[in-house]
């Protein structure tokens, strides 16, 4: 077991280094010159040359990469080209907001998906199962930004219940009502995936031999469902949560952009519009590290929760 964890952790480390290489190469394929982007079109050639040198952009690419990696190891992600702040500061200001958004929607999605999935599996092929499956299909097939847009139309433009975006001057905790629509958007999208998964996981377990054995022993229906089937059905869902981090992060980018939500996703979007390399690199690396750790934890939890898994 320990050996398995160490091996998986080493593998994850390699993957993280792989991510940084890929992102770095991609960003240096971007058109547009960051020096020009900072100084503007009217800058003199001398200024351009000196800033290029100052940013280390005249050095060979592998050297630039190693330098950046060295700084990353010291948690120094460099300075934004566009905003007068270090990437660290920008990330630190937005990370809690994104965690709030992503965390609350993921927790809400799980809390809703488990009972919904159980109910659908128990009442399989009845009208309420069909309705919920249909709804899950619709939300699953809906572009996140359009869902956000519809919620804004209904709750902001028509009913005037919630603001369409948080006010920039206030902290998020002072305007919790501005959180409701973004959280609802991300929850619905995530819930659609989780509940479909939960339903099929329950159905798969309901036909297992151990269920028949339990029933034959005279165990009550409720006990079979919650003590036996649900516990086994939750195992794959547990890992699904770990594995959906990249999906939820992508959802957060769109959601934050739709609602002008001051999080990492919106920061990424703005940085992509402005060729702000260091910020793009920073956000990508943070999300990738979270993803890799998420799937590592999911794998380990899976091995712990399910003794049938052989960790070789």
């Amino acid at each position: 077991m320990i050996g398995y964890i160490i091996r998986r952790a080493l593998q994850s480390l390699i993957v993280i280094i792989g991510v940084t290489i890929i992102t770095f190469i991609l960003l240096h394929m971007l058109p547009g010159n960051p020096v020009r982007a900072i100084l503007g079109p009217k800058a003199s050639p001398a200024d351009v040359a000196s800033l290029t040198k100052q940013l280390g952009l005249n050095k060979p690419l592998p050297f630039q990469y190693l330098l950046w990696l060295w700084n990353l190891a010291h948690l120094d992600l460099g300075y934004s080209y566009k905003q007068t702040a270090s990437v660290d500061t920008l990330l630190a200001a937005r990370l809690p907001n994104t965690l709030l958004l992503v965390g609350s929607s993921t927790v809400l999605a799980i809390l809703l998906a488990v009972p919904l999935g159980v109910m659908q599996a128990v009442r399989r092929n009845k009208p309420d199962d069909y309705t919920l499956t249909g709804l899950a299909f619709i939300f699953y097939s809906m572009p996140t930004f359009w869902l956000g847009l519809l919620l804004i139309i209904l709750f902001s433009a028509t009913l005037n219940w919630f603001p369409p975006e948080p006010q920039a001057s206030l902290g998020l905790f002072q305007q919790l009502n501005a959180l409701i629509l973004p959280v609802a958007t991300l929850t619905l999208v995530t819930l659609a995936l989780f509940s479909r998964y939960m339903r099929s996981s329950m159905l798969e377990n309901l036909v297992q031999d151990y269920v028949r054995t339990a029933r034959a022993k005279g165990v009550s229906n409720r006990r079979v469902l919650f003590r036996h089937v649900l516990r086994n059905a939750l195992i794959p869902v547990l890992t699904l949560v770990g594995l959906s981090i990249p999906g939820i992060a992508a959802g957060a980018v769109v959601t934050e952009t739709v609602f002008n939500f001051p999080g990492m996703g919106y920061l990424f979007f703005l940085a992509a519009e402005n060729d702000d390399f260091p910020v793009l690199l920073g956000v990508t690396v943070v999300i990738a590290v979270a993803t890799v750790i998420g799937s590592l934890v999911a794998d380990i939890l899976y091995a712990v929760a399910d003794p049938r898994i052989r960790y070789v």
Partner: protein, 309 residues
Amino acid sequence: MSLGLNTGLVDIPSETATSPEGGEAYQSGSTLKMILMVFTENKLAVIGVALILFFILFSFVGPVIYHTQQVFTNPNVKDQGPSLQHLLGTDDVGFDNLGRLMLGGQTSLEVGIAAAVLAVCIGVIWGATAGLIGGFVDAVMMRIVDSMLAIPFLLLLILLGAIFSTSVLELIIAIAFVAWLGPARLVRGETLSLRVREYVQAVRVMGGSQRRVLLRHIIPNSIGVVVVNATFQVADAIIAVATLSFLGFGIAPPATNWGLELSNGTTYVFAGYWWLIYPAGVCIVLTVMAFNFVGDALRDSLEVRLQKR
């Protein structure tokens, strides 16, 4: 799954029994027929196929019947509501909205399907190669896949969107470049389980080359999972195209797709121009849902086939 199994299917001989070459010939009539049977029994699958056909006709044949002018802007008729001349109104520069939807549908479907096919082709070759060679090569190839998978699909696309994605072709390549990872993993898994089968070993013993094993056995036998995956890829790609356009990294006007239509509509949320906001969204949802229905049904019918193996 086994509960839903139709009893009539039990007597159909499995493919390994019918073809002496083992899994080489996947097209044995009975298997295909069985898949088709299970597939058509699924109502959602039939609805899905019908919806896909409808949107293909709508986008590609529609403009022949419903003539609109989609080249020059016409500010005189901008932002009009639905009327007899313009069944779904006009947009902010005076294009007929229904005609615009058809044009957008062409791009969305073309990019979605082409990107999925390209992604799956790359994924199959990559995954099968890695699985077949194994060892160090496999480890390196799969760590590359893992690394790219750790960056969310959309973030990678936005990065790529800033590099490519001014034309339809570039958009297809960009999406395929990100989407091949899933099929690569899937096919590698299939390959690992297939390459130890007796018939593959038999080919080896008879002196069959690695290429023969790959092309005649591994790929044909994993085609099932691949087709299922490709169907979902189309759905994902259509959403990806729309999302990229919405974020402003997609195709430039006057070319359009459903996502770009929606992103224009965003400006009019508070103006109440519903014809610019709902139709394009409904098109996306229905098309994506249709591909998801078909994918689910294909997977279910494939599972029935696998149980027979």
